[in-house]
Each structure stands twice: as C-alpha cells, then as structure tokens.
Amino acid sequence: MIVEIGHYALVLALALAIVQGVAPLVGALRRDAALMAMAQPAAVMQFLLIGVSFAALTHAYVTSDFSVVNVFENSHSLKPLIYKYSGVWGNHEGSMLLWVLILALFGATVALFSRGMPDDLRALVLAVQSWLSAAFLLFVLLTSNPFARMIPAPIEGRDLNPLLQDPGLAIHPPLLYVGYVGFSITFSFAAAALISGRIDAAWARYVRPWTLIAWIFLTLGIAMGSYWAYYTLGWGGFWFWDPVENASLMPWLAGTALLHSAAVMEKRDALKIWTIFLAILAFSLSLLGTFLVRSGVLTSVHSFATDPQRGVFILGILIFFIGGSLALFALRASALKPGGIFAPVSREGALVLNNLLLTTSCATVFVGTLYPLALEAMTDEKISVGAPFFNLTFGPLFIPIVLAMPIGQMLAWKRGDLYGAAQRLTLACAIGFVGAVLLYAMRGGPIVPPVLAGLALYLIVGSFVEIWGRVSGGSSVGAMFSRAIGLPRSAWGTAIAHAGIGLTLFGLAATGWGVERIVTVKPNQPVVAGPYEIIVRGLEPRDGSNFRELVAHTDILEGGRLIATMDPSRRSFTTRTMVRTEAGIKTIGLGQVYMNIAEVRDDGSLDLRLYWKPYVALIWLGALVMALGGLLSLSDRRLRIGIAKRAATRVVAQPAE
C-alpha cells in the first residue's frame, strides 16, 4: 500500500509540475499576480509529493519488500541498514528519483527564500524549473518506474553490487546530485531572464548564491567520488579521466567560470551575455552528463542502465532544453546592451582570461570525452582517449590559470596595475621558486613534481597577499586582527578557495614522489615502503552480516618502533559471489600508507601492493578548503538572502525604464 502511495504521489507531482510550468508563465507574461502567485505553493507542494514518493521507496528498502522489482534486484534482507537507506539511489530508478527530488528541492527553496525577488522573475524561474521536473518525472514514470511490483514476491533479494556497499554511496551521489542539479536553478534563472528581458546586476546578485551552493556541493561531490575510488579500487588511483568523471568535471569547470563572470556582472554590469550563456552551459553539461551516465552510451561501472529507450528519452529532454534555451538566447542576446567598460589589464580583464582558459579546458574535456563516440558513429573506427591524452592537453591549460589567479586578485576593477601586482607577488614567487629548488634537491627524480609543487606554493602564498595588503597596515596585532575580521567574507572566501586549489595541486605534484612496492611476503616478513617498515603479523577470517572476509593484521614501524596498525582485508560476498578488497590505509601526517592484498596463496604467503604516498591527503583536503572558501563567500552579507531582499527593493524602487 505504501508503495502504491509513493507511486501515486509521483503521478500527482507530475500533474502539479505541469500546472506550475504553465500558470505562472502565463501569469508573468500577462502580469497577472494571481497566476504568478501559484508558483510558490505549487513548488513547495511538488517537493513534498516527491518527498513522499522517495520516503515510500526508502520504506520498501528498509522493510525489504521484495515484491517491488527494484528492491528485489538491489537489496538483501541481511544487507546492513545503512546500505538499505543508501541503496535506494544505488540503482538507475532510485537515482533518477533522487534526481527529481533534488530538482524539486531547489524549486521549493527558491519559492521559500526569495520573498524579495521581483514577482515575475520568481514566477518565471519556478515555471522553468517545473518544466524540468515535469520532463524528468515523465522519464521516471514512463521508463524507470521504481515502484513496479512482481507477483509472486521472491523470498530473498539479489543484493546490492558489493562495490557499492560502502559509506561512499551514502555520501557521494547526494553531494554530486545537489551540485549537478543545483545548476538547474541557474539555468532557470537564465531562461527566466531571457523570457522577461530583465538582465541586470540585480539578476546576477539573485543568482550568485545558488551558483555558489551548486558549486560547493559539486566540488565536494567530485572530491568524495575521487576519494572513494582511491580507497576502493585497490591501487590508489584517484582520477582516471573516465567519461563518467569527465561528465562531472565539465559542469564544474563551466560552473567555476560562471561564478567568476557573475561576479563581474554583479559589480560592473559587464559580461552579461556571456554570463547568461555560461548559466545555460553549466546545466546543459549536467544534462549531458546525466545522458552519458544513464543511457549506457558509455559502458562503465556507473551505468546501471543499458536500455536504449531510456537513452532516447533523455536525449529528447536534452535536445528540448538545450535547444530551447539556446534558441531563446539567440533571439534575446542581441538585444542586451553591453555594460561597464574596462581596460584589458583590470580585475574584469583577469576574470575574462579566467573564463577563456576555463572554457577552453572544459571544451578539451568535452571533445576528448565525446570524440571516440562520434568517430565510431561516423567511421566505425575505434580509438581510445584516456588519461595520457588529458594529462597532455588539460595540464598545460591549467598552468596559466594557476599563474594568473593571484595576479587577478590583485588587480583593481576597471583599470589595474600589472607591474604593481607583480611586484607585490615577489614574495610568493620567491617562496614558490625556492620551494621547487629545495624539493628537487631533496627528492630528486623527474623535474615535473617539484615544478608543480613550486607553482602550488606560489598559489597558496599568493592567494593571501591581497588580504595581507589590506590587513598589514594596522598599528598593532589587535588592530590587524580587527581589520582582518572586518574584511568582506567574500574576500576571505576567494583567498581560501584559491589556496585550496594550491593545496590540491601540491598533493597532485607529490604523487610523483610516491613509493610503490609489489611483493610476495610471508607473515612477519618486513617490507620497506618509503620511511616505513610494514609487517603482516597474521591472517584472521571474520564474518560480516552479508560477507566473509580474511583480515591481515598489519603493523607499521618507523625506525624499529611501532607507530600504527591497519587491517586490510579481502571480502567475499555470498549472494553475488564477488570478491572485493578492502585497502588498509593509515594517514601519517599528510601522507598515507596504503596496502592492498592482491592474492592469498596456498602456502600462506601474500601478494601485496604497498604504497607510501606523501602529501596525498592534500588532494582532498584542498577540495574541502575550496568548499570552505565557497561557504565563506556564501555567508557574505552581500549575498545573504535577506540582504538580497533589501537590495532588491531598492532596485525595484528605481524609476522604470
């Protein structure tokens, strides 16, 4: 019964979405306040209905109701409870339901927290958002119904893919989806602006918090996915330039560009056409990612579905929304008046350069991801585009971005002083250079890691030079402190987010200094990896709820002294008869000892993959720091939703055009 209620709620949500897509739109065009006012309650109700539907599916999972096909195929009564919850989105149908849930969540939050927005803008945003959810609700109901029943109900389920039975599944998809789908709101804002023709600095101010929220979550989602791959796949790889990863990286790059161009639009009323275009682009790339992952066009671990019907349906959605918005853009963009004028060397100019390089790197990933598909479709020739290609093309594009980041922060709006900026960065340059030379002298090896590490140091120090310049004038430490506190939070946000990129870059550079040992050992036979000695003390079989495992109790020694222990294991899942290795990972400082049991031989000896990865934690810590920077920016007075409201009333009070 509960399952049927969930199904019915989803159908109701679709009906409501269609109403919400039409009535406020008509209202905005006819200036009918009553029709426009329908948007808000409809958006909240739509979210509640999809929430009920999601809760119903969750209930079916938690109670192991195997009469539901989806639960039967992806769950098991003995599965640990946390995976019964997270398993809801560990399959195609459930993950699409999560997709629409988040889509509706964003609609509802706009409805609830936008009282200061002009009524017609809000009505249009919610209408466009509802078109999106109607399309995806239709998709779920017609091609991917999670509530389908089977009679008779099987006694036991087929269990969730063991690779997905991991806390990572509880965290990674929701974060990533909030990021991905979050760009739907910027898309809706762009479409609404194009429909109403009101595209100004105030619009940029309304849209910026939403862009930031989506960006923060996408950053965290990508980092979490990367760390999950790192500890699961067994050899410590964390980024593979897999099409599925690229699908999430592309919206991130476009979204980062959008954040920066929206700042120009907000402050200087310039780059309006471009900002609108990026807002459309970021979500279009999210849609493309969904298409690539969900349609099974690319066969990859992430594609649960290989049903052509679904692929064609999503392609239809993709064409409708991207085509529609671009057509609207083409119609309206020419009518936009160019705004503030600026010299090439200025904050605006630097942000234009940032956009140029970010969109080029985004295009590189795009072409690299889709080229093999296109070539095969046209000529039947198969080629592979893998990590070596992307490292060779994407890498060089990112270096100028890193070099320019601190300089851009230092330039004034309208007209900047490049020489002055460079002068103030002397210290950062010096630290980067000395750091690179020292690291090269200490570690030796190829030249690339120390150079990248030097760049990273330059970026980390350079990110704070501008803030230091504003704080250091204080007469005492206390005065400097109060100056630092008094700075706008968005200035801190920028500096911290940029420094986060520096941290990640340092972690990436340090992979060049890693130590790898691939060995066969007997218990109690030590292996040296970097500064540590690793000794497997003994093997022990253990039972989990739906698996059995063989654990290797392992000691880590430094200079003969025991400093840590770890328990890597090999798990065998009975229902799916799959084996998964659990790496043993010990964080020491910023580095990690990483150990994986590749094979257990009959004579009791073990094939091990052992690593010492210095500074590797910085790769993900950097992403956390980036997100923290975003969060600080979000908490800036100027962007807080209440303030935006007051600012908006001022904007509205201005004489009409």
């Binding site: 070539l375 080629i383 592979s384 893998g386 691939i518 079989p541 090999r570 993959r609």
Partner: protein, 155 residues
Amino acid sequence: MRVILALLLALLPGLALAVQPDEMLKDPALEARARNISSELRCLVCQNQSIDDSDAGLARDLRLMVRERLQAGDTDAQVQGFLVQRYGDFILLKPPFKAETLLLWLAPLFVLLGSGAALFAFSRRRRPAESAAALSPVEQAKLSELLEERADQPG
C-alpha cells in the same frame, strides 16, 4: 582454524589486482619501462583502464607480452608498434596524431585561439564606442563655457 582458512581461500579465487609480483622483471630499469608502456595501453575488454591497472586476464597477457618483447630487446616504440599492429589504434590510450584525430588534438588550440580572437574583435568593436563617448571639440568648448559661467556666479 586451518579448515576455515582453507575454506576461505577456496572462496577467494580469481580476483588478482593489476601487476603481480611474479610478472615483474628482475631488471628494475626494464621493469620501469614496462610499467611506463603498460600505463599507456588500454585493457581492451575493460572500461577505460590501462593494462597496468586492470585485473582482467587479457590485461595480464598483454603485460606479459610487453615484458617478453622488452626482454627480446625491443625499444619502447617497437613494443607499441607491435601491439598496435595486432590490436589497432584502439589499444593506445593516447590516440596517434593522424587525419582522423586531427580535430581531437587541435580542439584545445582552436577553442583557445578562436575565443581569444573573438574577444579581441569584440574589444576592438567596443573601443570606438568608448572614444565616441568622449567630447567633440565643440562640446568641450561648450562645457568649459558652462563651467566658467558657473564659477563666475557667486556662492
């Protein structure tokens, strides 16, 4: 205890991760070359994995083949050429530069130069507008006249 262990071992077949100790060459320099070559070759039956990272049986065969050729004295390029001859360009994770991949390799450059040129053209188009905003000599004269008038007025 031993029985359970034996049972567990029987339960854990197959899965062997990537490069295994018994595959590795004695000569560290040769082994390093093998690893390097392997990381740029696709495991043909996998999803976007190099043979160096893959657990598949085919990947193991290919790894052994690479090492065999190296031991026979092939250069890196010869090993790669040998495998391309057998399996086609599909095996290369870094596609070769040729007519079919021209667009792929040049895309970043095209996009960068194209949008750079567009930007340049755009800013050139904007500049006349900026100078048009400046005052003509007549307007300038009129302005200074007005300013003087204003200065003449008391208080």
